[in-house]
């Protein structure tokens, strides 16, 4: 499985990858991007099966990234991993085509349960 992790923080991309490996996704291939613009290019070139994206990023934020993906016809599974997680943002994420939103700070169990519930294999 190929997973694209989009976050402007290199530290957070490392942390997410480590948590995913511990959550049972140790065989996954990870690709990275630092914002939505780079994320769009990576989706096009790498064709990931899952995108995990931060919300607050420079250049193009996560919500704009998701909307650009969907307007281009991409149906790639998409989830947010973000420090912001108000009920309004959960609703906005779902309405825009995300299948889940993981709030920071998270645990390995958070990833395991969320991805299992979302049917992401």
């Amino acid at each position: 499985m190929k997973i694209l992790i989009v976050d402007d923080s290199k530290a957070m991309r490392m942390i997410v990858m480590r948590h995913l490996r511990q959550a049972g996704y140790g065989d996954a291939e990870f690709v990275e991007a630092a914002n939505g613009i780079e994320g769009l290019a990576q989706v096009s070139s790498e064709e990931p099966e899952l995108v995990l994206s931060d919300w607050n990023m420079p250049e193009m934020n996560g919500l704009e990234f998701l909307r650009s993906l969907r307007s281009s016809g991409s149906e790639v599974a998409f989830g947010f991993v973000t420090s912001e997680s108000t009920p309004d943002m959960h609703l906005l994420a779902r309405d825009s085509g995300a299948i889940f939103l993981i709030a920071k700070p998270f645990t390995v169990e958070t990833f395991r349960e969320t991805l299992d519930a979302a049917g992401v294999i």
Partner: protein
Amino acid sequence: MADPNLVQTWMHAMVDSTDELATSTLGLEGISVLSELMPTQRDLPGSYVALVGDQFNFEYGVAGTWDSFGVLARTLLFMESDEELGDDDLADAINEVINIVAGGVKRRMSEIDAGLKLGLPAFFNGTLHPTSHQEALSSKIDIGGAEIYLMVFRHKS
């Protein structure tokens, strides 16, 4: 009329949010509060982020020595204490700490100010100088062996 306990309330939310980070992603027992509600610390490096709402405007920050930030960053990144960590990676990790902590504050305080928006964090190494238009507080904590300061600045309306 200004609430004299307002900044304290928002500082307590920050302490709670930092404890949540410690006990979840960092896998620690929790944080220890060493000193509460002190004047802000000067001449220390730190990461800061704006939390701006319809009613309130805050800057949240974490400040500490390079050594304490090294301990905290290595904990966050699951690195050994003797592993090499460059300044850019350290600053990136500390930026992520304040980003997560301030996000937790936003979640806790969104019922008080539903319009809160979180900015992007920035790392500074210099002197902080709150003006007469700002209220400021800090609390010193121990998080995984790193002694750091949690800082809150409120812009008076």
